[in-house]
Every structure is written in structure tokens, then in C-alpha cells.
């Protein structure tokens, strides 16, 4: 694999996907501290919002310590060079949230849908593009469809005005060949100026290698998270990704040692528990369930006395999509009833 001289945009997720393992309780001071460290390391793009995106504050997904607006304002003011992105899931957030985020000074809006439902994103992508924002279409759970189907959905997002399309491995399920097949087809068929990105989860310990496969197949943006702070076994660890890319001669503009400092000295200390490849996380990746289900399953395990990994297996069996957290309690209850009989 030759990535010598290839320009790669690294996008940090620790303050958005990292909100999942933090149960959305990262403090403003912690956000500022982590963002400043990432900025000092030259990370060009940092995502900030509730783990489930703008407007994610809810009983269903968890109420955050602060509003999206408070987080965004704090981080936008902190960074000197980095740009800030916000995630938006139509059906959870609306164009009102998008306008708020733009007013806070984000440069990038990432509009996320399940990999078969891109046509709910038209109004949000249209607006973000009209506002002159870097506009990303983010196709989640992309392992659940064939590359051709993913392409059809990507073309819709591109037609609405997305200038970058992501293949998002929300479950951390993909093998390198799955990534290669999807990104290669997108690269062949989308407009040459449309950028491509890959968002990995480390549930099968393939975050870095899958991201490399994506780059080799034509992607140029890679999501990762300092110290891996993210849902499931975490995202692709960004400092590891940066170090590997450095060894391979790719150009990220990131100071890998400062990024290691950011991960070690600023992100690891705020973890509630180590983000690791636990049995639950492995099941997410093995069976293909949405990574942010993990903590919900663990809480249901405590409340109902049923094994969290069994709950996650059932969520995968039922072909659930991102956002169906409300089903976890029902499944746990039913499993407990079945056990009692």
C-alpha cells in the first residue's frame, strides 16, 4: 500500500462520539482542555455535539451536561487553527439546530442517515450547502447494504449538495475488503471533486487497518478519536492512525507527539473507565450492532439481570438501526421474563 505524499484530513471524534462512553457528561472545561490540546497538535477538524448529534438531548439517548450551543460556543472560541464540525441526524435534529450550529461558527455539518434512508437528508444538506458550509453526507451502518446500494444513497446525498460522503462503520463490523469494495465503488462513480471519508469503530480492532484500506481505495478524510474515546470499543485511535500514516509517509499536518500528549494527558484522564475491546464491544463488531447501544445494554443488564452481550446479539438479530435504544429495555425485560419461566 503506497500512501507516500497522500494528503489525509484527520477528524477527531473524542468530543462527539466520545460523549457516548461519557454518557454525554463531558464538562465545558474538559471540552476546552481537550480541544486546545488537539488544536495544538494540528488536528484540522474537531467534532463537537451530543453523541447522537445536534438535538440529541433526550430521555431516549441521555441528557447532556450542557447544551450543544454551550459546547460549540466554548470550543469554537478555544481553537486557533482547527475547524469545528457538528453532526446532525434528521429525525432527531432539525434545520433549526443546523442554523444554531452555523451561528456558533462551525465550518462543517455532517448530515447522518441510516445507509438506506439518504432521502431524509435533502433539506438539511441543501441548507448547509446554501450556507456555504463544508457539507458531509454520513451514511451510517454501511455494512448492512451492498456497495451498489450504498452508492445509490451516496449519489442522492451528492445531488443534494454534499461535497463529501462518508462510509460509516457504526458497528465496527467491516473487514478491510468490505471497506475497499465500498470506497472503491464510490470513488469510481461519484464526482471526482466529491471527497470520501471513512468512520471506523474499533470493535474488531480493525479501526486503523480499515482506515488505511479506505485511504488506499480513494478516501481522504479519516475519523478517529484521541485515545479512541468513542462508542463501543471506541473509534479508530487517532494518535495511532496519525503515527502509522507518518511511518507510511502520508501528509496529515498533525504533530504526532503532541497528538499522543493530547490523548494521554487530556483525554485518558477524563475517561470514566478505560475504553477497551470488551466482550460487549466485540459482540457489536462481530454481530453488527450500533456501537452506542453498549452502555444501554450494560444498564439493562444491571436492572433486569440478563447478560448485556446477549441483549446486543438480539439487537443485531433484529436488524436494528442507530437510534433504536428504546428497544433495549424491552428486549432485556423479555429475556428476564423468559429466564424466570
Amino acid at each position: 500500500m503506497d500512501l507516500v505524499g497522500k494528503a489525509v484530513t484527520l477528524h477527531d471524534m473524542s468530543l462527539r462520539d466520545g460523549m457516548h462512553p461519557k454518557q454525554h457528561q463531558i464538562s465545558i472545561d474538559q471540552m476546552i482542555d481537550v480541544a486546545a490540546a488537539l488544536d495544538a497538535a494540528g488536528v484540522p477538524l474537531i467534532e463537537v455535539t451530543h453523541g447522537d448529534g445536534l438535538g440529541g438531548a433526550s430521555v431516549n439517548y441521555g441528557f447532556p451536561a450542557h447544551s450543544d450551543e454551550a459546547y460549540l460556543n466554548a470550543v469554537v472560541k478555544t481553537v486557533k487553527n482547527a475547524k469545528i464540525s457538528a453532526l446532525l441526524l434528521p429525525g432527531i435534529g432539525t434545520v433549526d439546530h443546523l442554523r444554531m450550529a452555523a451561528a456558533c461558527g462551525v465550518s462543517t455539518i455532517r448530515v447522518a442517515t441510516h445507509c438506506t434512508e439518504a432521502n431524509v437528508s435533502r433539506q438539511h444538506i441543501n441548507l448547509a450547502r446554501d450556507m456555504g458550509l463544508d457539507t458531509v453526507g454520513f451514511l451510517m451502518m454501511a455494512h448492512m447494504v451492498e456497495p451498489e446500494q450504498l452508492l445509490a444513497q451516496a449519489k442522492l446525498m451528492e445531488s443534494y449538495g454534499a461535497n463529501c460522503i462518508y462510509c460509516t462503520d457504526s458497528a465496527g463490523y467491516m473487514l478491510a475488503e468490505d471497506v475497499t469494495a465500498r470506497i472503491s465503488l464510490l470513488r469510481q462513480e461519484l464526482q471526482p471533486e466529491t471527497e470520501l471519508g471513512f468512520h471506523g469503530h474499533h470493535n474488531l480492532a480493525l479501526g486503523v487497518s480499515n482506515s488505511l484500506a479506505a485511504l488506499a481505495a480513494g478516501a481522504n478524510r479519516i475519523d478517529g478519536s484521541a485515545a479512541g474515546l468513542g462508542a463501543g470499543a471506541g473509534n479508530t485511535p487517532l494518535e495511532v492512525m496519525a503515527a502509522v500514516l507518518d511511518r507510511m509517509g502520508a501528509v496529515t499536518g498533525v504533530d504526532i507527539f503532541k497528538l499522543m500528549d493530547a490523548a494521554e494527558n487530556h483525554v485518558v484522564p477524563i475517561m470514566d473507565e478505560p475504553v477497551r475491546l470488551s466482550r460487549d464491544a466485540l459482540i457489536l463488531g462481530y454481530a453488527g450492532a450500533y456501537s452506542s447501544f453498549l452502555l444501554f445494554a450494560k444498564r439493562a443488564e444491571i436492572k433486569y439481570g440478563v447478560a448485556s452481550h446477549e441483549i446486543l446479539l438480539e439487537m443485531a438479530r433484529r436488524k436494528t438501526v442507530g437510534g433504536q435504544e428504546d428497544l433495549i429495555e424491552e428486549i432485556a425485560y423479555n429475556m428476564a421474563q423468559a429466564q424466570a419461566r
Binding site: S58, V59, N60, P90, G91, I92, T94, V95, D96, H114, T116, E117, N119, V120, R122, Q123, H124, R318, K319, T320, V321, G322, G323, Q324, D326, L327, E329, E330, Y333, N334
Partner: protein, 295 residues
């Protein structure tokens, strides 16, 4: 024998056709006209069912309203054209039942506020909110009639195959309108709505979760009884509306989930989200007809 109220249906798509099939069984409503804009399969179906049809939109219906004694019109088109449809027909004394998200008239969730809407004298237009609203707001109201609700949130999970382009093209309208009706009709101080679309095959039944945060500690027995009574009310027009497991009480949080299986008239059974809209619209028309008959 009741004298049935004569009705027109605007929009011969899936919703309009399903509504037509339900209305043809009604003891109170007689569907007479189907209004479309081209000779679509829906118009052909309506013709086969013996309806008068026009393909000239509402303008094609207007000349017949008085002669055919059309008293009710269901609008199953889109928010964009509803205002114009409503203006043309209400001028002739027709009462509009709006299945679009236009929401010109007051929100109507039959088991919650239809009686009070009738008592206050529905003028000429009522709005059926959204599918998620019809499925969940009765449950929010079931809590708020027991004790004050500070916040109510609904999560509607629907099969991809049951979500039409109108909803997809303006999904924000679903979240906004539903949230607003959770407050105005459901009685929560603050409302939030979430919609999740799942493409699994075979398609899943509509599933809704309602989370309420009560101001004071929830009165579990009273709330559970209120849920049960409310579900029976909804089952009068949507027999496949049923509670999944028991309500969950956790601190000040009350959570209940329901499944909505449709009747399978024209729409498939899994699309309970569409069925509950057509059934609620017909239920509204029937109660209006009964009310006028006994007035």
C-alpha cells in the same frame, strides 16, 4: 337509519385509497368523490369503487359540492397545496379534515380532544397532526390527566417502506408538528419527537415509545389505569394498537411502548403509522357526523 354525511377525498394515493376503503364501511360517512390531478392508478381504483372522480384537482370538485351535498373533505395531499384546497372548499361550507402537516386548523387527536373540539364548535378545518402524534399523544394525555407532565418525548420507529416521499422530503415538519402537539394536545409543558426509520425486511410494525417526566412522583396505579383506559379508546378505531410489556416507572420517568398494526385495508398491516392516520381522520369525521345529527 342514519343519514350519512357525504364526503370527498382529495389525493388518491396510498393514504387516500386506504381512507376510501375504510370510509366505504362507515355507518356515518358516505364517500362520494375522489379528487386527483391525473388519471393515476388511485383515480382508476376509486372509479372502480363507484366514486365520482375528477383529475382537475379541487377545481374539478368545486362545481359539484352543493349539488352533491359534500359536507366533509379529507385532504391527503401535501402541506403545500392544502391551504388553497381548504380555502376553496370551506368557502362552500365544507369541513376540512387535514391529513397533511399544514396545520391550519386545530390539532385533533380523537380520544384526547375531539369531544372538546366539537363542544367548542369546530368551524371548518381540523388537522390530524402526524402519524407519530396519533400513536403517542393519547399516551402523553393519559399521564397528564393524572398529574402534571414537565416533559414528554416520543420515539416513533417505522418501517422504511411505510414512509412516503412527503414525509422524507420534510422530516423536520414531522418532528416539529409532533412536538408542538405533544404540548398543545398532550398537555406536557415541553415536548420532543424523534423518528427512526428502519429498512428491515420483512418490515417491522410501527413501534412507539413515550417517555414522560412528571413534575412530582408518578402515581403508578392511576397512570397504569389511565394508560389502559386510553388504549381501549384508541382500539375503537385502530384494533391493532397494543401495549408492549408494562409501563416502566423509574424515578419521575414514566415510559410506555406500543405497537401499531394496521387493518391492512389498502396499506399493508405493518404500516400502522399510516393506518392510524386514516382511521383517526375517519373517526373524526364520524364523530362530527354524529354530533351534527344529534344537535
Amino acid at each position: 337509519m342514519n343519514k350519512k354525511m357525504r364526503a370527498a377525498i382529495i389525493g388518491p394515493g396510498n393514504i387516500g385509497t386506504d381512507l376510501l376503503m375504510k370510509a366505504m364501511r362507515s355507518n356515518w360517512i358516505e364517500p362520494v368523490w375522489m379528487v386527483g390531478i391525473d388519471d393515476s392508478p388511485g383515480i382508476q381504483r376509486a372509479r372502480d369503487f363507484g366514486m365520482h372522480v375528477t383529475t382537475s384537482g379541487v377545481d374539478g370538485l368545486v362545481p359539484h359540492v352543493l349539488a352533491d351535498n359534500i359536507q366533509i373533505a379529507f385532504d391527503a395531499t401535501s402541506a403545500y397545496v392544502h391551504a388553497e384546497n381548504s380555502a376553496k372548499l370551506t368557502a362552500l361550507g365544507v369541513i376540512m379534515i387535514d391529513l397533511t402537516p399544514a396545520a391550519i386548523g386545530p390539532y385533533c387527536i380523537p380520544p384526547v380532544n375531539l369531544t372538546s373540539l366539537l363542544a367548542s364548535g369546530v368551524k371548518d378545518n381540523v388537522n390530524m397532526v402526524t402519524c407519530g402524534g396519533q400513536a403517542t399523544i393519547p399516551l402523553v394525555a393519559a399521564v397528564s390527566r393524572v398529574q402534571p407532565v414537565a416533559y414528554a418525548e416520543i420515539v416513533a420507529t417505522v418501517a422504511s417502506a411505510s414512509v412516503g416521499m412527503g414525509t422524507r422530503d420534510n422530516i423536520d415538519e414531522f418532528t416539529r408538528t409532533t412536538a408542538s402537539a405533544i404540548e398543545k394536545v398532550g398537555g406536557a409543558q415541553q415536548g420532543k419527537a424523534i423518528i427512526i426509520i428502519n429498512p428491515a425486511e420483512p418490515p417491522l410494525l410501527m413501534r412507539d415509545t413515550v417517555h414522560c417526566l412528571t413534575v412530582d412522583t408518578p402515581e403508578q396505579a392511576a397512570i397504569t389505569a389511565s394508560f389502559e383506559a386510553m388504549i381501549i379508546e384508541v382500539q375503537k378505531y385502530v384494533p391493532g394498537y397494543r401495549m408492549v410489556n408494562l409501563p416502566i416507572f423509574d424515578g419521575n420517568r414514566v415510559t410506555i411502548s406500543v405497537e401499531v398494526e394496521g387493518l391492512g385495508d389498502f396499506l399493508p398491516k405493518y404500516s400502522g403509522n399510516l393506518d392510524i392516520m386514516t382511521a383517526a381522520a375517519l373517526r373524526t369525521a364520524e364523530m362530527l357526523a354524529q354530533n351534527l345529527q344529534t344537535a
